[in-house]
């Protein structure tokens, strides 16, 4: 009996080592399976993600104040250093824009007149109502570019709403929690936005590449894109309204058209969430009368 106890005690460290190895192998296997499953199914641990977003939005809301303070310090320092030069440039720009202002007023008047004559509505689809939010954290990791907003269902945020900064379109809402929401940035690999050139109205899809510079894709052969073209949302597909400014075309090398975002290079703190209901297809929003139920009118064959 004594010898058996001694043997058991002798074997204990080996047993423990074996147990550790088994645990390690199992956990690595589970992690790998989760990684592969998450690639296939985006809704994995969805409730866990929502709760984590709610928690981190509160914590990051507090931490964001000193962080944004440091950022502002650098921005202010740079602005002060260039103040004299910028002042001269701004004065020149104001003089240049005065002519455009008169032209814009004239065009607005003429467009309104044409609309009245044609009895049609051609105004921008951008809704007037906006929800103010704070981007408490911005994640630009190796695989995901997203931002966490401190508003959620409590402020009637919904998936698909556009998120704007003062410079331009920032992204769109992909997940909504109770008091937080997650925004997919335009630079994210999964971001696809239908856009057009403000100059030529050529269409394309803005594709994020997990880098600072998204590119234009799905461009037709006869499309007219040029460097310095302003890129705006086209509203095609009815997912986002038409007319949100995004950035400018900066390079057209190697059959790739790179876009510099207006939101790039500035610390983004306060944003607007723009409520917008995507255009519904007739199938998803049917009226009672359909082709099969419709009764023949006078003179029509059934």
């Amino acid at each position: 009996m004594n010898a058996r106890n001694q043997l058991q005690r002798y074997n204990q460290p080996q047993k423990r080592r074996n147990l550790r190895r088994i645990i390690a192998v199992w956990l690595i296997f589970i992690s790998l399976m989760m990684l592969i499953s998450d690639r296939q199914q985006k809704s994995m641990l969805a409730s866990g993600r929502l709760n984590a977003d709610d928690l981190s939005s509160k914590v990051m809301g507090v931490l964001a104040y000193p962080i944004r303070g440091v950022e502002t310090l650098f921005v202010n320092w740079k602005s002060r250093a260039n103040a004299y030069h910028e002042n001269i440039l701004l004065k020149e720009e104001v003089i240049r824009l005065r002519g455009y202002e008169n032209k814009a007023h004239d065009l607005e008047m003429r467009v309104r007149r044409f609309e009245e004559i044609l009895d049609m509505e051609t105004s921008t689809e951008i809704p007037a109502r906006k929800i103010v939010a704070r981007a408490v954290s911005e994640s630009k990791g190796p695989f995901v570019h997203s931002a966490l907003l401190n508003v959620g269902k409590n402020k009637s945020i919904r998936v698909g709403y556009a998120v704007m900064s003062i410079d331009g379109l920032y992204g769109h809402v992909v997940r909504v929690g109770r008091v937080s929401s997650r925004t997919l940035l335009l630079t994210d690999l999964n971001s696809r936005i239908s856009v057009m050139s403000q100059r030529s109205q050529s269409r394309a899809i803005l594709v994020g590449q997990n880098s600072d510079r998204p590119v234009l894709s799905y461009i037709s052969a006869d499309a007219d894109w040029a460097v310095d073209d302003r890129v705006i949302t086209s509203g095609d597909g009815g997912v986002l309204p038409r007319g949100f400014v995004i950035g400018t075309v900066v390079d057209m090398d190697n059959q790739e058209i790179g876009v510099k975002l207006f939101t790039q290079g500035h610390p983004v703190d306060w944003v607007w969430v723009v409520p917008y209901s995507p255009t519904q297809t007739p199938e998803s929003d049917p009226i009672i009368e359909t082709a099969t139920t419709r009764k023949p009118q006078n003179g029509e064959q059934p």
Partner: protein, 177 residues
């Protein structure tokens, strides 16, 4: 299991929880970002420091479970693919055979940490290429690595203060599950 062994198990478990708590704090701090001019400063490798300075008195088996949970927490909080950091952290911890930072001086610790970071960058790159079929921006990862190296001395000093490196009464405890 006698009373002394039970007490030792409890102590080693409490050290594991301290490591986990420290890891959660660093994971939340890793969500911070700074936009300074053209540079976007991130701290995504910050939780690696807690693996490196994992308490030497902590239970090894429980540590594995806690590190897995820490990785999942980081994945969820950073909105990344679930399982990525859990996998990377586990590989690092198993490779290290537990925390290494407490067993060496500052220079040696820094050298080994640089090597581990390089390994993690390669690991993330390979996972990105194989699982996600996308090449990760290696320059961005390298820059994040350099940023975490700047924080290294602070965490090294902090882990000594917390007693994570103290092995005095750890030898008898470490072996317990």
């Amino acid at each position: 299991m006698n009373e002394k062994e039970s007490a030792n198990s409890l102590v080693s478990f409490s050290w594991t929880l301290q490591g986990l708590a420290f890891g959660v704090v660093l994971s939340i701090m890793a969500l911070m970002n700074l936009e300074i001019g053209r540079f976007h400063v991130e701290f995504i490798f910050l939780p690696l420091l807690v693996l490196y300075f994992w308490p030497v008195k902590a239970s090894h088996s429980w540590s594995l479970i806690c590190i897995f949970m820490l990785g999942i927490f980081h994945d969820i909080a950073s909105n990344g693919p679930i399982g990525l950091w859990a996998l990377v952290y586990l590989i690092v911890f198993v490779t290290l055979g537990g925390g290494l930072g407490g067993k060496a001086g500052f220079r040696k610790s820094l050298f080994w940490f640089i090597l581990i970071q390089a390994g993690v960058i390669v690991c993330v790159y390979v996972i990105g290429y194989v699982v996600f079929a996308q090449s990760v921006n290696i320059l961005q990862l390298l820059m994040n690595g350099v940023i975490v190296l700047c924080v290294f001395p602070l965490v090294f000093w902090f882990h000594i203060i917390l007693g994570f490196a103290n092995e005095d009464d750890g030898a008898s405890v470490r072996g317990h599950i």
